[in-house]
Subunit: 368 residues, 2 copies
């Protein structure tokens, strides 16, 4: 994606020095555009847990680089299986809900089995992280192409009037490496000249919609309108939404989708108003082992401060205001699970399928 | 209700000087407790439009005092029918969705028909406003008593474990004169020793839940937890909500309920999880003329700034931060309509009924 005419990804290996991983600091957007250096596995752990980087595909890739940095900064005596396992466990625990974290770490563990010397391990870890990065980027491009067909169909059905798409949180290129998951079809449609307009849920408590999705769409030139999380239902009742596309942090093989808290409410509303509700996700966000119901997905609970304080811009500074009485008791669940019965379909890198085991496995037969 | 052991209503005639109406300035809560003087009809219009006072029952009563102040500050030459009609129209337009505004203004117009001299008009207008105030207070008390029976039943069914009640926005005593609509049953249950706990939706964009409902509950000592508007669905899925009670700005005779934006999403979620969803409202919030569907209710659109900026407390001052890029396009709908089919029942001042014409008219046969 281009920011002021320069192409960016969310994360990359520093050209001049491959011992440093660089990433966009998403905590400061849209108010400040800053690149951070990740030099150690602790830097990576901090970046994931504190949402310097966020979004299921991106935190997976970041964790893969974390294992590379851990090895790079260790020595031959430490770079044994036990140490790698410890690092993998630590990184895997940084945020519990997104399955991509486990996926990327497992990929690294597997690749490293074949490496023996410290040198080889470091090289393999870097190559694997870079491979996962390239794959995730390509997954998103494929999601974009498949999702585009949906938007094209609606566009035709509406006689080329504007297609109104609602999205929740940020499942754009900032959540991935490039393109995005939920947003990729929108960018592809826009670039093809289809008239699209996006309703952007602000997505409390961290306002990823208000801060990141607006910023992305603005830079790409896609028309959008910011709304509170309460508004989507009314818009759907009024016929102002043609399609909902969201991302996913973990999708079970049965098609139940864990995504940013509030997604379930939008899915209910879409169902009630007969509006197609799609989830866009790469294979790396599917939990192939989650055979049973949604209750098995661990829902992250985050700090009460995220609800109590709202961060924003004031007098050229990023500042926080407290929005409730002091000592207010607060619950802050990060995700909810949308049951498969509310989902029209999944837009994956291999095509669109129903949110059900059989149909998912048709696209991914190797997991059968 | 008591604030630091002193009894308050939201609005009253100043004891020492009946030419002044006093009200709590709700724009500053919970950070500052301030009483404002309303001396003219323009003061009243400003207070309603800028949400110094808010909540359907309260803005109705405030408008009734507005007509009194208009007459008080006019002279005999101006206090004619034409002038009163103009004032009524102006006040009625201050906020379009709540029907209580029209109700109170119509009551005044009707009462004033029998008054002739300026003196008499002023006296009648004050008496009528005070009567509406007393009635609204009593309506809320009755709603509390009827709603209490619902909570008592759930308490018994749960073998006296804590009853978890979710509410949206503020339909407490701050929205009324005293007691509240949705909150009255909760206060009555708490005062009777029933273990209750309230999930408080923060209610973006103006955060009436985070600012007002928390403040009310805290002063009364009722246990509560503040959540983002996105969270209720997840809590319901997890069995953490036993009952939803919300207020209403306008309920059609068919049982469709206009209330704060986002109410519809919670009603959908309650239905999906088989949780009782009740709307508490006085007779003055029922629009007896709205025979057809929800589309006839005018949904107020408010300033984009309410979404773009979040107000809170910082370094002992009330301040605002901008939460999105500058020049972001924003839509700010104040209300949505929850269809009757999602509503378990209405808690009115005359008892509990189904959200349907026939059942409502059984309680209010005079409107048949």
């Amino acid at each position: 994606m281009k920011i002021n005419n320069k192409h960016y990804q969310t994360i990359w290996v520093k050209k001049e020095n491959p011992k440093i991983i660089q990433a966009i600091d998403q905590r400061l957007l849209p108010f400040e555009f800053k690149i951070v250096d990740l030099k150690t596995v602790d830097d990576v752990y901090f970046a994931i847990q504190n949402m310097v980087v966020r979004g299921a595909p991106l935190i997976g890739v970041t964790a893969a680089f974390g294992i590379y940095l851990a090895l790079l900064n260790s020595d031959n005596s430490k770079s044994n299986d036990k140490y790698i396992l410890e690092v993998a466990k630590m990184l895997g625990s940084a945020r519990p809900t997104a399955v991509n974290l486990n996926y990327a770490v497992a990929r690294q563990m597997n690749a490293l089995k074949k490496a023996h010397s410290w040198n080889e391990k470091v090289r393999v870890a870097l190559e694997t992280a870079k491979r996962i990065l390239r794959e995730e980027k390509e997954y998103c491009r494929q999601i974009g192409l498949h999702g585009l067909t949906l938007i094209e169909k609606i566009c035709e059905k509406k006689s080329h009037q504007t297609v109104n798409i609602l999205t929740h949180c940020n499942a754009g290129w900032l959540a991935c490496i490039d393109y995005g998951t939920a947003m990729a079809p929108i960018y592809f449609a826009f670039d093809k000249g289809i008239k699209v307009h996006v309703w952007v849920d602000e997505t409390r408590p961290r306002n990823q919609g208000a801060r990141l999705t607006t910023w992305e769409l603005g830079h790409h030139g896609v028309p959008f309108t910011l709304i509170t999380d309460n508004t989507g239902g009314h818009l759907m009742q009024q016929g102002l939404v043609d399609l909902v596309i969201v991302g996913s942090d973990r999708t079970s093989i049965k098609g139940n989708v864990a995504n940013k808290i509030g997604t379930y409410l939008k899915a209910l509303s879409a169902k009630d108003n007969k509006i197609p509700f799609y989830v866009a996700l790469p294979a790396s966000s599917i939990d192939w082992e989650l055979q049973n119901n949604c209750d098995q997905i661990q829902i992250e609970q985050r700090d009460a401060e995220e609800v109590m304080f709202v961060e924003g811009f004031r007098e050229n500074k990023i500042e926080k205001v407290r929005i409730c009485p002091e000592n207010t008791n607060i619950a802050n669940f990060g995700f909810d699970v949308t049951p498969a019965r509310l989902i029209t379909g999944l837009i994956t890198d291999r095509g669109i399928c129903k949110a059900e085991r059989e149909d998912i496995l048709k696209l991914f037969p190797e997991y059968n």
